[in-house]
Amino acid sequence: MNFPAESIPIFGALGAVLLAASGVGYWLHLRYAGGPSQGVIDNLNARIRAWWLMIAVAGSAMALGNGGTIGLFGLLSFLAFREFITQTPVRRADHSALFFSSFLVIPAQYWLVAANWYGMFAIFIPVYVFLTLPVLSALFADEQKFLQRTAEMQWGLMICAYCLSHVPALLTLKVPGFQGREVQLVVFLVLISQVSDVLQYVWGKLFGKHKIAARLSPNKTVEGFAGGVLSATLLGGALWGFTPFPPLFAAAMAFLIAVSGFLGGLVMSAIKRDRGIKDWGTLIEGHGGTLDRLDSLCFSAPLFFHATRYFYSLY
């Protein structure tokens, strides 16, 4: 057990918020049972229950130390890649390339995080795997949709493995005066990204009028985006004492996380819309699949990682 003491107030606050949400959800359930809005309320309660579970999983992984956090994100990458590949036109000839990706590339990428080998971590998938995957598929001599199949596997690995692995890679940064507390960068990134998603949804439901890209995602509105990003930025600034950053910089980082997360959600919605699906999977009741919850994090993690590394880390 090495649960960082500084994170306890954050988890306590999350617990209090969830407790209140569960109470309200239960009250709504009693008050409107059998009514026309029961479906919405059931979905809300399922989402709240799933949040309890997700926070419990994240907390337990953190308590196991860096290995637990790295292992958790490795598993999430595996689950996300599985959902992504289900929607691609991969064929029998790609079987070896897919096996290679799922059981060698993803574990190797996370091993590189654990081994703290930054140079290889940064180029392993974009260079070596990028060149190897099409070779593996070509060896099976099936030319149909070859470029599309290869490109979609590569894209899946970039999003689900490469981008997501930047979350635990925060643990390897060397921020002066912050040694031993790197996991707080992970908590900050995940917290701001998820809170921003929830707040964009809430602001959108309350005040949303003008849709952004209505064809892609009916839930994204200008009001939801502005309200969600603004409140996530304020929360990030308020949490500056938890980070290595001064207040304004913490707010700017939260702004970066919220905006890039929103854009990531938009991109992933475009893929879902093209494939005619609403959710990537069914793993988390009320939320959809792993990728539905992680899409924003996939885009914000590399940016947050490099911004922190550039401005604050010794390397």
Binding site: F78, L79, F81, R82, E83, I85, T86, V90, R92, H95, L98, F99, S102, G281, T282, L283
Partner: protein, 203 residues
């Protein structure tokens, strides 16, 4: 003890690899005497279907498997006999005797079955012509419910000719149980079952 642990590990592995999601569209998972009839595209089919059942049901539902494949090697033999407690049938046996006798015995003991009416593996979306085995089974044990099942995507998880799986989402759709009506001609019953299975196919 070891077999029970192996069952738990395999079911967990199937969930991590494929999700093995059960969609109970036409019926609920119950202890009723049933023959789950599914399309067959991969060696992992029955494993996925079995993993999609709720835990307590798994020990009372037995797969009907071909002895020529499953008895050829110590690992397969252990898996099918001890872990999955499969009912083995001889596909290429001599015409003397009833190849499905073991399956009938299991049904009359009140054990539900997982059955592949095509008799062999197809290659994806289409169904091969059904063998007469399923009709024979329900004619002898008409109180068994025949549950149509569509297994989606298993072919992509482990295509014919590969011995290792890749992770992809799979779902099992369970339809409304069919009952055999006394004297129903074989072709009619097989057609009803076939249509019910195809109806569960996504899209």
């Amino acid at each position: 003890m070891i077999a029970a642990a192996a069952r738990a590990v395999i079911a967990l592995g199937a969930k991590i690899l494929t999700g093995a999601q059960g969609r109970w569209i036409g019926c609920a998972p119950t202890e009723a005497l049933r023959i789950y009839c599914a399309n067959h595209t991969s060696h992992i089919d029955f494993l996925l279907l079995w993993s999609a059942l709720p835990g307590p049901l798994r020990s009372s539902v037995r797969p009907v498997a071909a002895s020529d494949y499953w008895l050829s090697g110590p690992v397969r033999r252990y898996l099918i006999q001890e872990v999955f407690q499969g009912v083995l049938v001889d596909r290429g046996g001599p015409p003397a005797g009833n190849p499905l006798q073991a399956a009938m015995d299991a049904l009359s003991r009140g054990e539900s079955l997982i059955f592949f009416p095509e008799g062999t593996r197809g290659t994806g979306d289409a169904l091969l012509p059904f063998k007469s085995g399923i009709h024979h089974l329900v004619r002898c044990v008409p109180r068994a419910e025949v549950v149509p099942v569509w297994i989606d995507n298993a072919y992509r998880v482990m295509p014919k000719g590969f011995i290792f799986p890749v992770p992809l989402l799979c779902s099992m759709s369970f339809g409304t149980p069919l009952r055999y009506t006394e004297g129903e001609p074989k072709e009619d019953f097989l057609f009803r079952l076939r249509s019910a299975m195809l109806e569960l196919r996504p899209q």
